[in-house]
């Protein structure tokens, strides 16, 4: 008798060095079912899938707790090869295709048809010669099954992006024992039209009894194509529903978190004059993996603006683009004056400071002392911490040391002293050093990216408090880019949401959670108009 479920995962727990990322998660899929797995970045989706595939990252970090049943039988999957043997396939977020190969070679990758010869009989299968005509005809059959009119001898690199995703599906389907296919954000790179075509194709395949786990951020697609939905939040299973029984709003709410639970450290309804500190007009940034298209944003003097969005959707590109770190197009007006973003030094001189999300790469000189790291920007930009003796500029060691000590006290940087190497500090303390350097510049506009990524709670609070302090005491305008929505909601006056490379809306921190979720997944139609502060232009 066929078992009821093709895959069951029971009580899955996983922790990375004492930090739980999955807590008692259950998952069940029937044959031919499309199950949507949704959750924010870092909710544990990838970890769950890594467990399913027996990726080495799981086993090298101490394995996991829980039970996996495939086809009704308990299985031990300890490598991706085991998963493949069971009949679990994966369509990756980035294409796992070789552009230089023809389609048939990609479909048959590592499962090539072979012609027999003498050497092969002696030395093993590896020396069989590829049977290209057989590979092509079998590939053609699979492509036809998917309703694609493609010549298997076409070079894959010449295909449009939309079709490449089909090739990946074709590869999985060509595996004769395939029973379950995991789709990891398969539509992220597709246009709406292409995504629709692709998902119809998935639906068609699922009718033949093949199950799918569908990971996505596009909730509309979930609603339209999935049979059931599993929602993860912070490593916990917060919902397991059939698609009909749940609304998009509810999914979104469950993803983000039910209750708005944050302490505001800024007055709730601050009024600002209509002086704009910064204006972006049709601003596009070509940052690899974070492309931003035609953003229009106005930031008022003295406010704290948050920029939220999912990873890879372009939120990080705004600050990096303004600082001229990646090629960009469009206009930037600083206090009404157009600036040339490629001239980073001039931008700094104009009073803009930037704390990069790439702390260890762009942000810090890891082998230098705390003191050097704190003063380097001001020294370079404003010639601060310099002393003139006989017309020659010398480094003013004393002033730098005093300032650094002051900063160490103010931020509570845990270190042995100003001369300690920054590379030896913990992540949180490194972040504090970055902040201290920005403060040393006394900026009028501060761009902060991911200020709290990967640091402990205490340091988080300190850094957020310091941002608010700068804003209220010195009147610094601040743009905070962060993946931590709750934090943005605790300090920002407005929050801009970036999705699919575009600024899709600006919300007040007090808007309902589900609105944030909807905007992040690219749904701009929030039902009720007027409440949200739409893009002004």
């Amino acid at each position: 008798m066929e078992p009821k479920y093709i895959l069951e995962m029971h009580g899955i727990c996983k922790e990375y060095s004492g930090n739980p990322v999955l807590k008692n998660v259950d998952l069940r899929i029937r044959p031919g079912e499309i199950l949507a797995l949704v959750g924010e970045n870092g909710a544990g989706k990838s970890t769950l899938m890594n467990i399913l595939f027996g990726m080495s990252v799981i086993h090298s970090t101490g394995g996991f707790k829980g039970e996996v049943l495939f086809n009704g039988e308990p299985v031990r999957i300890s490598s991706p090869l085991d998963a493949m043997k069971c009949g679990i396939g994966m369509v990756h977020q980035e294409f796992m295709l070789i552009n230089g190969y023809e389609i048939s070679e990609n479909i048959k990758l590592n499962r090539e048809n072979l012609k027999k010869n003498i050497l092969q009989k002696i030395l093993g299968n590896k020396l069989g010669i590829l049977d290209r005509s057989q590979m092509r005809s079998e590939s053609l059959a699979v492509l036809n099954e998917l309703g694609l009119q493609l010549e298997p001898s076409t070079i894959t690199g010449t295909l449009p992006v939309g079709l490449k995703q089909f090739i990946e599906i074709a590869r999985e389907l060509d595996k004769k024992n395939i029973k379950l296919i995991v789709l990891d954000e398969p539509t992220a790179v597709l246009t709406e039209n292409e995504a629709e075509k692709f998902l119809n194709c998935v639906k068609e395949v699922s009718r033949k009894g093949i199950s799918f786990i569908f990971i996505t951020h596009r909730l509309k697609e979930v609603k339209a194509y999935a049979d059931s939905i599993v929602i993860l939040r912070d490593g916990e299973l917060v919902g397991d529903y059939s698609t009909e029984s749940i609304s998009i709003e509810r999914i979104s709410e469950l993803m983000i978190g039910r209750t708005v639970n944050f302490d505001r450290s800024v007055d709730n309804d601050r009024k600002f004059s209509e002086d704009y500190e910064l204006e972006l007009k049709n601003f596009s940034v070509n940052m690899p993996g974070e492309i931003l298209k035609n953003a229009n944003l106005k930031i008022r003097k003295g406010e704290i603006l948050g920029i939220a969005g999912l990873a890879g959707h372009g939120k990080a590109a705004i600050a990096n683009g303004i600082m001229g770190l990646y090629p960009s197009m469009g206009d930037i007006f600083l206090k009404g004056k157009k600036i040339d973003e490629t001239d980073t030094l001039q931008t700094l001189l104009d009073g803009v400071a930037f704390v990069s999300e790439d702390r260890r790469g762009v942000g810090l000189l890891l082998h230098e002392s705390i003191e050097t790291n704190v003063v380097i920007s001001s020294l370079r930009v404003y010639n601060k911490f310099l002393r003139r003796i006989l017309g020659i500029k010398f480094y003013d060691r004393k002033a730098a040391k005093n300032f650094t000590e002051e900063m160490i006290k103010r931020f509570d940087i845990r270190c042995t002293g100003p001369s300690q190497e920054v590379g030896r500090l913990s992540g949180g303390n490194q972040q504090k050093v970055c902040m201290a350097r920005a403060i040393a510049l006394h900026p009028e506009l501060l761009l902060v990216s991911e200020p709290t990524r990967g640091i402990d709670v205490g340091a988080k609070k300190r850094i957020l408090d310091e941002l608010v302090e700068m804003n209220t005491r010195e009147g610094t305008t601040i743009i905070v880019t962060s993946s931590e929505l709750a934090e943005l909601r605790s300090i920002c006056d407005r929050i801009a949401i970036v999705s699919g490379g575009e600024v899709v809306g600006i919300l007040s921190p007090f808007d309902d959670s589900y609105k944030f979720g909807l905007l992040m997944s690219g749904i701009t139609d929030l039902g009720e108009k007027g409440e949200s502060d739409e893009i002004r232009d």
Partner: protein, 429 residues
């Protein structure tokens, strides 16, 4: 547009064209007769081709130019020294030698393959260092241990006067020296003539097969393009040699060791065969994208080790062919430069660290070795100083690598820019 295309062709072959020009100059200034140059070139080509061929697999596997073929060369040398010590010669001796060298080079290949897997992305520099290490190890065994109780050497003629350590130069016995070369020799002009006959015959057969399979004449001709090109090459070479008097004399006086040529052909075919197998496909996949390869279940590490082992084995065979042609071995230095010279030759042929073909091996071998022995002569003629001639030789071997790598980098520059432009266009739309 046509001018653009022409420029593009020039640019993509910049390295080779640069060296062709250099070769023409240095040959012209060397002041040697055509006979000397042709003789020297043919013997160097036969001597070195297999060593250069050994570099192909690692390039295909994405590991760049395998400088660690020095290990393979050392293995080949060990085989030759052992059979000289045992006093075995002739074909039995060579077979034993090849067997020993193959076994040792498998071990060496696995060793350097493991190292390369630990240093992904830095295989070339690792290869160079492994080469130095191998030299030290080789010296330890043959300079310090050879002749002692640990490693007894039966033939006292091989040892230094003190009884420990091998002599700097070991002259091979009759059964080893020229053992492959002397099997069957034919003058160059006859070789070319037979070459024309044979390739013509093969070409006609291939065309007919395509015709019988039901292609039109035109398609049949197009499908047998490669054979027609090979045939034309032979024909043109033959006509040149036949019609130009100085080359005609050279062609008559130059003997081609046909058996060695056959061995080279076998290695070429082996390489082609491997490329067409599943193993070859795995190696190519690893070379194009290691991540995709491992995601599709290919054992990337293992495949890379196999590619290194193949390369090392072929290098060992190459060194045996090289040394039997030389007739003697400089015990401590013969294998030292093998990697550098082979890599330089391959690069001159137009290969890059991402792509290398058999055609490039032979083009490179001709150009590099032509330059290698005419440069010092030209330098001597121009400046009347043999020191400068020697300087040119060193310049050629190391400078070639630097120049061709730089030229390749230059070739790739505009492509990057074009890509950037396209991307920004995409963003703009």
């Amino acid at each position: 547009m046509k001018a653009d295309k022409f420029l593009a062709v020039l640019k993509s072959n910049a390295v080779t064209i640069f060296f062709i020009i250099l070769c023409i100059f240095s040959t012209a200034f060397s002041g040697q007769s055509a006979t000397f140059i042709v003789q020297e070139l043919v013997s160097r080509l036969c001597r070195n081709s297999v060593l250069i061929l050994s570099l192909l697999m690692p390039v295909l596997c994405g590991m760049g130019l395998n400088f660690s073929i020095v290990l393979g060369a050392a293995a080949g040398q060990i085989g030759l020294i052992l059979i000289t010590n045992w006093g075995i010669g002739g074909f039995t001796g060579m077979l034993i030698c090849i067997l020993i060298a193959t076994i040792i080079s498998v071990l060496f290949g696995i060793f350097s393959g493991f190292l390369f897997n630990k240093t992904v992305g830095q295989e070339m520099i690792t290869g160079i260092i492994v080469g130095y290490f191998a030299k030290g190890f080789f010296d330890l065994i043959f300079l310090i241990l050879a002749g002692t109780k640990i490693f007894p050497i039966g033939n006292p003629e091989l040892l230094l006067a003190g009884g420990v350590g091998l002599k700097n130069t070991i002259v091979f016995g009759e059964g080893v020296r020229y053992v492959f070369d002397d099997v069957f020799k034919l003058s160059l002009i006859n070789c070319l003539l037979y070459g024309v006959y044979i390739t013509l015959a093969i070409t006609i057969v291939v065309i007919l097969i395509h015709k019988i399979k039901g292609n039109k004449w035109k398609d049949a001709l197009i499908k047998s393009k490669t054979m027609i090109i090979v045939f034309s090459c032979f024909l043109i070479c033959f006509l040149l040699v036949f019609l130009i008097p100085s080359l005609f004399t050279a062609g008559l006086r130059t003997d081609v060791p046909l058996f060695t040529v056959l061995l080279i052909a076998v290695v070429c075919l082996l390489n082609e065969f491997l490329c067409k197998t599943k193993l070859g496909q795995d190696i190519r996949t690893c070379g194009l994208d290691m991540q995709v390869a491992s995601a599709s279940g290919i054992k990337v590490g293992q495949t890379r080790i196999i590619a290194t082992v193949i390369s090392t084995i072929i290098a060992a065979w190459g060194q045996i062919i090289f040394l039997q042609n030389m007739g003697l071995v400089n015990t401590y230095t013969s294998h030292e430069q093998v990697g550098t010279y082979a890599v330089a030759a391959l690069l001159v042929g137009g290969a890059s660290i991402h792509k290398a073909t058999i055609k490039q091996v032979f083009v490179g071998a001709v150009l590099f070795h032509l330059l290698f022995f005419t440069m010092p002569l030209a330098g001597f003629n121009l400046f009347n100083d043999s020191q400068i001639g020697e300087y040119f030789r060193v310049f050629v071997s190391y400078g070639v690598i630097a120049i061709s790598l730089a030229l390749h980098a230059w070739e790739n520059l505009p492509k990057v820019k074009a890509k950037k432009k396209i991307k920004s266009d995409v963003v703009a739309n």
